[in-house]
């Protein structure tokens, strides 16, 4: 790509005179007042624009948050997340918006949209009430002993035997087959382990989704510790009621007790992965789970 192309892209960034950056929607049902003590992206003061029982957590903005400076983007993202967290603490499970969603217009524009979509939004909020997203990552820090795998698999046992008896050239080819088979066996074991865990967690969660085993590289990784070569068995994301948190922790404790396995359990997060899409023809996004609430405005 050329610098010229980048400049062009910048030049055509949408502009607007008045806008509202939206962090999330919250249910105001049963809450008194709409005050929220928190600081927004770039230190902006955060407010709640309400329409009946639905509130939008916003700050006034005049431009899009766009930067090629990854560290800056990361700070924005962290701030965005903190505001959504604070909103969740104050008003219960929020409907989190994707980073950098900006309404063109003033409070009245946001209010009008809330009014128009009110039924859908209230249904989505009440459906998610008390539910949060939890993330689970199981890592094998201690690889399964190769000899254990060979003993447990007839093909590997057979290949191992043949390699020992074969002349050099043939042994080389057999060795290749052996390595391939070994990879298959490891992958199958990983899959079986992940399936078992999924099934068990499904008893306590409203939804369980398996994520890509490899974590996406992104701005988030800037400060992440380097990978120590451990093998990720699975990464799952769950939508679960907060009351089920302890039971889920219990299931994970059992996994963590297994030799060579480590479990990372994070949350409760706002239900980002499980947030619905709004708008005509809105469907699940590529690569992500379908919206769960069935509240898409169609």
């Amino acid at each position: 790509m050329t610098d010229g192309g980048r400049r062009d892209a910048r030049a055509e960034t949408p502009t607007f005179e008045e806008g509202r950056y939206v962090y999330c929607l919250v249910s105001l049902e049963g809450t008194d007042g709409t005050s929220l003590e928190t600081e927004g992206v770039e230190g902006e003061p955060v407010r709640v624009v309400d329409a009946g029982d639905v509130g939008a957590v916003v700050h006034d903005c005049e431009e899009i948050y766009d930067s090629a400076d990854l560290e800056r983007i990361r700070r924005w993202l962290v701030r965005h997340q903190r505001v959504v967290d604070d909103a969740g603490d104050a008003f219960g499970t929020p409907l989190p918006f994707q980073f950098d969603t900006v309404f063109r217009g003033d409070d009245a524009a946001v209010h009008a949209w809330l009014e128009r979509e009110r039924e859908t939004l209230e249904a989505a909020l009440s459906s998610l009430a008390g539910h949060w997203e939890y993330r689970v990552e199981v890592v094998r820090t201690d690889p399964v002993d190769e000899s254990t795998l060979v003993r447990a698999d007839a093909d590997l046992t057979d290949l191992r035997g043949r390699i020992e008896d074969a002349p050099e050239g043939a042994a080389f080819l057999l060795e290749k087959r052996y390595e391939r088979r070994l990879d298959e066996v490891r992958a199958r074991r990983r899959g079986d382990r992940a399936d078992r865990l999924r099934d068990r967690l499904a008893d306590h969660a409203r939804e369980v989704h398996e994520l890509e085993r490899t974590r996406p590289q992104s701005v988030g990784e800037l400060s992440a510790a380097a990978d120590d070569g451990a093998e990720t068995v699975c990464r799952l994301t769950l939508l679960a009621h907060e009351a089920a948190e302890a039971a889920i922790g219990g299931v994970l404790d059992e996994v963590a007790e297994e030799d060579g396995l480590e479990v990372r359990f994070t949350g409760p997060w706002p239900p980002y992965t499980f947030a619905p899409s709004f708008g005509e023809g809105a469907t699940g996004r590529d690569g992500g789970p379908e919206p769960t609430t069935g509240t898409d405005a169609r």
Binding site: M1, G5, R6, A9, E12, T13, F16, I64, Y65, D66, A68, L70, I73, L77, H80, Q81, L95, P96, F97, Q98, F99, D100, T101, V102, F103, R104, A109, A112, Y134, E137, E212, R215, P216, Q217, S218, V219, E221, E245, D253, A256, V263, R264, F265, T266, G267, P268, W269, Y272, T273, A275, S277, F278, G279, E280, A282, R285, D286, G287, G288, A297
Partner: protein, 93 residues
């Protein structure tokens, strides 16, 4: 065990903020509302600004394309040649 939510854990959801969350489809503006929405695509910065240019900048940038861009970014190591990546936008390797 109890779930954690410290700085380390936050790394876990940073990507999610770019990829997930309530999405307002661009068509909602056209078909439903006078409320024009500026749906911003910071993901594109991460994916590389050229991606945005390829897609005719913002007009055509709907969620599907956004998701694809994220996917490309996510699996950039596999089909690196298909995407000229912005060097500073990648933290891998």
């Amino acid at each position: 065990m109890k779930p954690t939510k410290n700085e380390d854990a936050l790394v876990d959801v940073i990507d999610v903020l770019l990829r997930d969350g309530v999405v307002l489809r661009a068509d909602v503006i056209v078909s439903v509302a006078e409320i024009p929405l500026v749906g911003v695509k910071l993901t594109a910065v991460v994916a590389g600004m050229e991606t945005m240019t390829d897609y005719g900048l913002f007009e055509e940038w709907d969620t599907t394309r956004r998701a694809r861009a994220v996917e490309r970014r996510q699996y950039g190591h596999r089909d690196r040649e298909s995407l000229e990546r912005e060097p500073s936008a990648e933290a891998d390797e």
